[in-house]
C-alpha cells in the first residue's frame, strides 16, 4: 500500500491541480473543433475535422523549456511542481521516476526523453517508461506499488504525459474512432473520442516499518506530518493521505484493438480489486469513458456484471479529451480532489444513456460522503486496469516475496540469419494473422510459440495466470516509421493496421490472445537491456500480484533486419536462499 504525497496537473485548463479542479467545477473544457492538422506537430495537410483539447500558443510559450522538447518540458514542469510541495531529495537511490506515455515524441526513443527528464529533476536512478497504451497512467501507479512494496525504492515520481500530433490524430482517425464534436461519454449520441494533451504527476511514498525518516527525504523536514498544501484537502484538512489500496490488470485476450463485448478483462480487474470489499464504500467509479461506441458499451457491461450499478460513475474525458499516457494520473488526481470535497464530478458531455449496462451516470454534480473510489482504464492490446484509492489506510494485501528463476528460454536474433517467416512456416504454420503483425510482434509471437513447444506439457491453466511482462529500448520504432509513410502530406492515407502496431504493448496483446493469457500484460521501456532491473521489476510484480510464474523478456527491433528477443518462462525459486538482509 502506497500513499500519494503530492500531485500536479498541467493541462489546457491550468498548470496546477487546484486550477484544473476549479476549471472542472465551473464546467470548462478546452475541447474544440479543428479542421486541419496544424497546430499539431508534423501537420500541413488538410485533415478530417476532429475535436481535441490542445495547449494554446500562449500556453506553449509559457511552458516551454530551453533545450527540451515540449513533451519533456511539460513532464519536467509537472514533476517539479509536485516535488516543490515535498522535501524529497531526488538524487537519493531510493527515488525512482516512472514515465507513462504512449508515444512520447515521435521518432525519439522514449528512454532518451525519460533520462533527460530524470536528469532535469535530479533523479539519479534509471527511469522506467511505462508504455502500455491507454492504461499506462494506471499501469505506472501499479508499478509504483510493486516497486515500493518490494522495498526497492521509498518514493516513486509517477509522471503521465502526452502531446498530440498528426501521427496520433491521423492514426485514431484511420480507426474511425474520432469525433469532430466534444465527446459524449456513455451517451446515446456519442460519435467517438477526442484527443487531448496534458502532464500529470503523483508522488508516491512507500510504507516503512518504523517511524525513522525515510531515506530520500531531506533531513531538515519533518517526516510524518506534511503541512497542508494550499487547496489540497481544502474541505476540512487532511484526515490521512490518499492510499492506493489495491489494483489489478487483466487482459481480455480477445482482440488487439476492440474490447471484449462483455467487458471480460474490465470485469475481472474490478473483481480482483473489490473481492471481499464493501462496494457501498465507494464514492464513485471514475470510468475510462472515451465515448467510442465500443468502449463505453463494454465498460457499462463490466460495471453491471461487477455489481456496481448503484455506484455513481464519473467520466472526465468531456473536460480533457483522452490524454492517453496522462489520463490515468490526471483523472485519478481530480477524483481524489473531488472526493475530498464530497463531490462526484458531473460527466460532461453526457445527457442520455446510450449503453445497455445498468449504470448510474449523470451530467450533474452529485454528493457522496464516502472516502474511496475505483478508477478504471482500458486500452489497446486488450489491457484493463482497475485501481482502488482510499483516504486513510485501508486493508492492503501482504506481499509474499518472490525470487524467480528462468525455467525455459528462447532466444531469437537477426544475427542468427534466419528469417522470421521461415521460422513461422517451419514451427507454426497455422496462424495466418502472423502476416499482419509487425516485426516486433512477430518476434514475441514466435518466441512464445517456441517456448510453449519447448516447455510442453503445460497445463492449459498455467499460462492464463502468468503475467506477461515485456521490455525493450526501441519501443515500436519500425512501425512508427512505416506509419509515417502513410501520413505524408501529399499522400495522406493513414493505415489502421499499421497504426495499431505503433504501440509496443500490442506485442503482448497478440501473445495474450494466442495463449489465452488473462492476467496482467505490461510493456516497459528501458535505456538498455538491464537484466538486473528487469528481474527486480518482475519479482516485484509477482510478489504483489501473488502469481507464481511469469512470461517475460526483452523484445527489441530497430529495423526489419536488426532485432533480438529473449523470452523466458519464470518460476519461483524453490531453494532456500540465505539472505544477509
Amino acid at each position: 500500500m502506497i500513499s500519494a504525497i503530492s500531485t500536479n496537473i498541467i493541462s489546457p485548463l491550468g498548470f496546477t491541480t487546484e486550477e484544473n479542479y476549479q476549471a472542472v467545477l465551473s464546467g470548462r473544457s478546452a475541447l474544440r473543433r479543428y479542421d486541419e492538422y496544424p497546430p499539431l506537430k508534423g501537420g500541413c495537410a488538410k485533415a478530417e475535422p476532429f475535436a481535441a483539447s490542445l495547449f494554446s500558443e500562449e500556453q506553449r510559450a509559457a511552458l516551454s523549456l530551453d533545450g527540451y522538447t515540449f513533451f519533456e518540458a511539460i513532464a519536467i514542469r509537472s514533476a517539479c511542481e509536485a516535488l516543490a510541495q515535498t522535501s524529497l531529495d531526488t538524487s537519493s537511490p531510493r527515488v525512482v521516476l516512472l514515465l507513462s506515455t504512449t508515444k512520447g515524441d515521435i521518432g525519439v526513443y522514449p528512454s532518451d526523453a525519460a533520462q533527460r527528464i530524470a536528469r532535469a529533476l535530479g533523479v539519479s536512478t534509471t527511469p522506467i517508461v511505462v508504455c502500455n497504451a491507454c492504461v499506462s497512467g494506471l499501469s505506472a501507479q501499479l508499478l509504483a506499488d510493486y516497486l515500493l512494496s518490494a522495498d526497492l525504492y521509498d518514493y516513486a515520481i509517477v509522471v503521465g504525459a502526452e502531446v498530440q500530433s498528426k501521427f496520433i490524430v491521423a492514426g485514431f482517425q484511420s480507426l474511425k474512432a474520432v469525433s469532430d464534436e466534444p465527446c459524449r461519454p456513455f451517451d446515446i449520441e456519442r460519435t467517438g473520442l477526442n484527443l487531448g494533451e496534458a502532464a500529470a504527476t503523483i508522488i508516491f511514498k512507500g510504507q516503512t516499518p518504523s517511524n525513522s525518516p525515510l531515506k530520500g527525504e531531506k533531513q531538515s523536514s519533518t517526516v510524518n506530518s506534511l503541512p497542508l498544501r494550499e487547496g489540497w484537502g481544502a474541505s476540512g484538512g487532511l484526515a490521512g493521505a490518499w492510499y492506493l489500496i489495491a489494483a489489478a490488470a487483466r487482459n481480455d485476450a480477445f482482440h488487439i484493438v476492440s474490447p471484449s463485448p462483455q467487458g471480460d478483462g474490465c470485469y475481472k480487474a474490478i473483481e480482483a480489486v473489490m473481492a471481499g470489499r464493501d462496494k457501498s464504500q465507494l464514492a464513485t467509479v471514475c470510468v475510462h469513458g472515451t465515448a467510442t461506441l465500443f468502449n463505453d458499451q463494454m465498460e457499462s457491461k463490466a460495471i453491471e456484471r461487477a455489481g456496481l450499478t448503484d455506484i455513481p460513475l464519473s467520466a472526465l474525458k468531456g473536460y480533457y479529451g483522452h490524454t492517453m499516457g496522462a489520463a490515468g494520473v490526471l483523472e485519478t488526481i481530480l477524483t481524489m480532489r473531488a472526493t475530498d470535497d464530497g463531490l462526484v464530478l458531473p460527466s460532461k458531455g453526457f445527457t442520455e444513456l446510450g449503453v445497455s449496462g445498468k449504470v448510474s451516470i449523470s451530467s450533474k454534480s452529485r454528493r457522496s460522503s464516502k472516502t474511496s473510489f475505483l478508477k478504471l482504464l482500458s486500452g489497446f492490446g486488450g489491457c484493463n486496469v482497475a485501481a482502488l484509492f482510499s483516504r486513510g489506510k485501508g486493508q492492503g494485501a501482504r506481499n509474499k516475496s518472490r525470487s524467480l528463476i528462468k525455467k525455459h528460454t528462447i532466444s531469437l536474433s537477426s544475427k542468427d540469419g534466419k528469417s522470421l517467416t521461415d521460422i513461422y512456416k517451419q514451427e507454426v504454420g497455422d496462424y495466418p494473422k502472423f502476416y499482419k503483425m509487425d516485426i516486433l510482434t512477430r518476434l514475441a509471437f514466435l518466441a512464445a510459440e517456441l517456448l510453449k513447444k519447448e516447455s510442453l506439457p503445460i497445463e492449459g491453466e498455467a499460462w492464463k495466470g502468468s503475467p506477461l511482462i515485456l521490455f525493450n529500448h526501441s519501443s515500436s520504432i519500425v512501425s512508427d516509421r512505416q506509419f509515417l509513410t502513410t501520413i505524408s502530406d501529399d499522400n495522406l492515407f493513414p493505415s489502421p493496421s499499421v497504426f495499431v502496431y505503433t504501440l509496443p504493448n500490442i506485442t503482448a496483446g497478440e501473445v495474450a490472445i494466442r495463449h489465452h493469457i488473462n492476467c496482467e500484460t505490461s510493456f516497459y521501456i528501458l535505456p538498455k537491456r538491464d537484466e538486473a532491473l528487469m528481474q527486480q521489476i518482475l519479482e516485484a510484480t509477482l510478489s504483489a500480484t501473488g502469481a507464481t510464474s511469469a512470461l517475460s523478456g526483452w523484445v527489441d527491433a530497430k529495423s526489419e533486419t536488426s532485432f533480438e528477443c529473449e523470452l523466458s518462462i519464470y518460476e519461483m525459486n524453490n531453494e532456500e536462499v540465505a539472505t544477509a538482509l
Binding site: 474511425k176 484493438v257 476492440s258 495466418p432 502476416y435 499482419k436 492515407f493 493513414p494 489502421p496 493496421s497
Partner: protein
C-alpha cells in the same frame, strides 16, 4: 468488371497481408467475413475503406457502412463500379 475484380483481389491481398491466400484460391464470391469465409476482422474493414479511397476515390463514413458493402470481392467490385471517382 473482370479486370476490376482482379485488381481488387491484388489490392486486398496486399493491404490485408493475406500472404497464404493465392489469387487462384481467392474466390470473389466467398464471404469475406465470418467463419465460413476468409475471416476478416474489424481492422481489415478499415483497411479496405482506406484502399477504396486511395485507389478509387470513394469515401465511406464509417465501418458500419463498409460492412454492408463488403460481403465479397464481387459486391465490392459492383459498388466500386457504380461509385468510383478515379
Amino acid at each position: 468488371m473482370e479486370q476490376l475484380i482482379k485488381d481488387l483481389k491484388l489490392q486486398i491481398k496486399e493491404a490485408l497481408n493475406l500472404e497464404e491466400l493465392s489469387l487462384e484460391d481467392f474466390d470473389e464470391n466467398a464471404p469475406l467475413f465470418g467463419e465460413e469465409g476468409i475471416g476478416l476482422d474489424s481492422i481489415d474493414v478499415l483497411e479496405i475503406i482506406v484502399l477504396l479511397e486511395k485507389h478509387y476515390g470513394i469515401r465511406l463514413a464509417n465501418s458500419k457502412e463498409g460492412k454492408a458493402i463488403f460481403h465479397s470481392v464481387k459486391t465490392i467490385a459492383e459498388y466500386v463500379q457504380a461509385n468510383r471517382k478515379k
